[in-house]
């Protein structure tokens, strides 16, 4: 008998801003729709471990799509006529997420995004709070400057290698090598200029510092950031969470790509959040399923004073 992952991949046609995008997505599981947003310049493969985790898919319909330009989703057919370089905007990103959820007829999904997918959760809370039942912002904050830079898309520089290597240090040195290099590979496979174009959203068009206090608090928002994230540091996430009503903030000993760089550790960090989402789901989905007997372990929120003791600190 051949071994297969339980993941199923399909294409759905998503209308957004006057164009229709044939959009690739993968899914597994049943229950609360959990729409997963990949990081800049990559694709939904970053969620392959969560898509295959029966403890998660017992209660959640986990869905990871590739934004246009990413993974198996193509750019618009006339991309070669564009008179500006590719730039992801807050408006398009938000509208596309909502349009994708509508195309799949999802009712009050949970959105979990990392990096730029974490930052966009703030815009979703500001603009579309009634569309969702909870938001999980992994490595998210209200302003993450310094990444919309030309070396990431330059004809004299190998895009794949420079893009992938520029993000390698965002991962914890203690995450498993095999998964860190798999994450590196995802980055090396992005189309030319796509990572940089996404970073237009990440570093330029998503400065929410003067807006996040307007988030109503009706929609639960969970912030989770790894301590090795030098693009969105724990302090940046904590400062943001302090301004966002109805939010929780968890700092853990990982990096910027928790779902793919260390899926085992990520499970221990995300499980209490998923458990809370099941318990508080306004639609009461998943309550009678395996929620209570699942292996979604309890984990208390890590405070900044409880950093792991295994790291060597050298006094100079």
């Amino acid at each position: 008998m051949n071994k297969h992952d339980p993941i199923v991949g399909r294409y759905v046609y998503v209308p957004c801003e006057g164009k229709t995008y044939r959009t690739y997505y993968e899914e597994a599981g049943e229950g609360i729709p959990l729409v997963c947003l990949h990081t800049a310049g990559t694709d939904g493969r970053q969620y392959r471990h969560q898509l295959c985790d029966p403890d998660i898919t017992a209660n959640f319909r986990v869905i990871a799509f590739d934004l246009p330009w990413h993974g198996k989703s193509l750019p618009p057919s006339d991309f070669y006529l564009m008179e500006d370089e590719y730039k992801l905007t807050t408006k398009f990103y938000c509208e596309f997420i909502v349009a994708f959820c509508r195309a799949l007829e999802l009712r009050k999904p949970v959105v979990m995004g990392q990096s730029m997918g974490g930052n966009v959760c703030l815009a979703l809370a500001l603009r579309y709070e009634n569309e969702f039942s909870a938001l999980i912002a992994l490595e998210g904050c209200d302003y993450s400057p310094g990444w919309w830079i030309d070396p990431l898309h330059h004809p004299h520089i190998h895009g794949g290698e420079v893009v992938a290597t520029s993000v390698f240090g965002l991962m914890s040195p203690e995450s498993p090598d095999e998964y860190r290099w798999e994450t590196w590979w995802y980055y090396a496979q992005g189309g030319p200029g796509v990572f940089k174009g996404d970073l237009y959203f990440y570093s330029v068009d998503s400065d929410f510092r003067d807006q996040v206090h307007k988030i109503s608090g009706k929609l639960p928002i969970y912030f989770l950031t790894g301590e090795y994230d030098f693009a969105c540091t724990p302090e940046m996430t904590e400062r943001t969470a302090e301004k966002v009503k109805g939010s929780e903030c968890i700092i853990f000993s990982g990096g910027h790509f928790p779902t793919s760089e260390d899926p085992v550790k990520f499970k221990t960090v995300i499980s209490p959040v998923l458990k809370k989402i099941i318990q508080n789901d306004p639609e009461r989905r998943g309550q009678d399923s395996a929620a209570l007997r699942s292996n979604l372990v309890e984990l208390r929120t890590t405070s900044r004073n409880e950093r792991p003791t295994s790291r060597r600190v050298i006094e100079l």
Partner: protein
């Protein structure tokens, strides 16, 4: 005091040990095959000239003279920043040269022509990470 606890740990003998570790590496000749150039490694006020050919270090010098005719790019940081970078498990924000150089952190300055820095980032990152094995 740790082995990185004093300034003299980044003296020329230390740089030589690092350079020999780099030259024994079996991955760099592959990923650094086209990395040929000269860069400056700055530790506090000391500048070391590192001359690289096809991913191997051919020459190191302490101090830069007129006859060196400059270098392609330089990486300057304090000895305490390099000490953190060179730990076996470096602490957050010091585990990577781009992390240290990123405008949010500014623990390392990239000087000179940054084009060859970005062009060779993968090999350079591996090369510098071998400081953790010196």
């Amino acid at each position: 005091m740790s082995r990185f606890g004093s300034r003299r740990n980044f003296d020329l003998e230390w740089v030589e040990r690092w350079a020999r570790t780099v030259n024994e590496d079996r991955i760099l000749p592959v990923i650094g095959r086209f990395f040929t150039g000269r860069f400056m490694l700055g530790v506090d006020e000391t500048e070391y000239l590192i001359e690289v050919r096809n991913g191997k270090i051919q020459r190191i010098s302490e101090g830069i003279t007129t006859n060196d005719m400059g270098y392609d790019f330089g990486l300057k940081a304090s000895s305490s920043a390099w000490a953190k970078f060179a730990q076996p498990v470096p602490p957050p924000m010091f585990n990577d040269i781009w992390a240290m150089a990123h405008p949010l952190h500014k623990q390392l300055v990239i000087v000179g022509n940054t084009l060859p820095f970005w062009q060779n980032l993968r090999a350079l990152t591996r090369m510098l990470s071998l400081m953790r094995e010196v």
